[in-house]
Symmetry: C2
């Protein structure tokens, strides 16, 4: 996906590229014809972001469509008085910034939680070559469609109590890690309790209490940001089984 990867594309494809949402312009998924590779050279640009650095801020013009290769990011919205709300934690394989497609400027901010690498395509290039990379248009449509479907599923867990929402949050992270071929039972959260709370609409103390409560049942063990899942099936029940009741 990086420019320097072009010559390597036939040799070794990083695992994360297989699920990358920029796949249709990316060398990793379809070997390019000469012209196509030229297009891609003009289009794809790699970028590295240090932990704590912003990738973009709300209000800035929409310049790049990103796909995260490694790392973890948080995106947040702010209201008039500066209160912020986490809207998501994009990680490797996710695209970033697409919500700005409509208004042409970002209405959320995006910051790296840990050191992160991301591939990007300039919006101008994307627009210019819209027909050539209509496969990518389609890919982005699918991505956005899936995001919306996920949001709908999310709504269902939203009126559940705190322990369930936190359990569901952990399950989703574990599932995502599993899909990426990582160990789903060892979670290293890159974000603070306050971030989780902002995302789940809970106070940070409530997140802590919920984690303690879940830990007491034996599903997980917590050591600050390290979470070990000992009984993922029970955790799944705690998250989604309406018959399960805590303590």
């Amino acid at each position: 996906m990086f420019l320097e990867d072009i010559s390597l594309a036939t040799k070794r494809i990083p695992a994360v590229c297989g699920s990358c949402e920029l796949g249709c312009v990316c060398l990793c998924t379809s070997l390019p014809a000469a012209e196509r590779s030229k297009l891609i050279e003009q289009v794809v640009r790699p970028t590295r972001i240090r932990a704590g650095d912003h990738i973009y801020r709300a209000g800035e013009p929409f310049q790049w469509i990103y796909a995260i290769k490694t790392g973890h990011v948080k995106t947040y919205a702010q209201n008039g008085s500066g209160e912020e709300r986490i809207v998501g934690f994009p990680m490797a394989g996710d695209t970033l910034g697409l919500e700005a497609l409509h208004e042409r400027y970002h209405n959320v901010s995006s910051v790296a939680l840990i050191d992160t690498t991301a591939c990007r395509i300039s919006v101008r290039a994307f627009e210019r070559f819209a027909t050539e990379i209509s496969g990518m248009q389609r890919q982005l449509l699918l991505t956005l469609s899936r995001d919306i479907a996920r949001h709908h599923q999310w709504l269902i867990t939203e009126n559940q109590r705190a322990e369930r929402r936190v359990a569901a949050f952990l399950i989703r992270i574990a599932d995502k890690q599993k899909a990426r071929g990582e160990d789903p039972e060892k979670i290293l959260l890159p974000m603070s309790r306050a971030d989780i709370g902002s995302y789940l609409n809970l106070a940070h103390e409530t997140v802590t209490r919920a984690l303690s409560c879940i830990a007491k049942t034996g599903s997980i063990r917590t050591k600050r940001r390290k979470i070990d899942i000992d009984d993922i099936e029970q955790l799944r029940e705690q998250a989604f089984d309406p018959d399960y009741h805590f303590g």
Copy 2:
């Protein structure tokens, strides 16, 4: 937009078609060349839905992309034990069903709140003519992007108290009516208090109480589903101004 409208397209374009999200295949926005009109004849099909009838149900295959011409719809998700949660109230000018693009089947259900007419394009036709109607692909990308951006804005109001959320709900409806050229100060809600509550994550009694509370300030008058907005600026403060506090 309806087949029978084709001959009329040059004479009178319904106001709602100007903002229709199927615009790029619709006769109302761009007069067709002979071939294009033939394509459109194959593609666009009108449909009428009676109040209470389902347009599609969760689990059904994804067959049509809809654009609502007149009427009002609610979409809802269900969890394993049958509890439902309203995910949105699409109205005239909105597209419907796109969240299914990714999984190829619907994961929410959609039902008309009042008698509704909708234009639709079959997914098969859309896929078959994907290159010809790449303008529509782009249009749908913008639509989904905007939906996600709206969701992000929605998150900010979500941790506010009940009165604010209800006030914000009314403001959004008023703004949408204004955008469609209707009177923004006379709202006729097509959905029940329970539906609003499910959407806002509130009990239906809380919705009633919030409306009563807002009415007491003089911003609105409520008569069951008829809401008159008397002071929209105050209502806007009640929804979004962090300095505003209720009685």
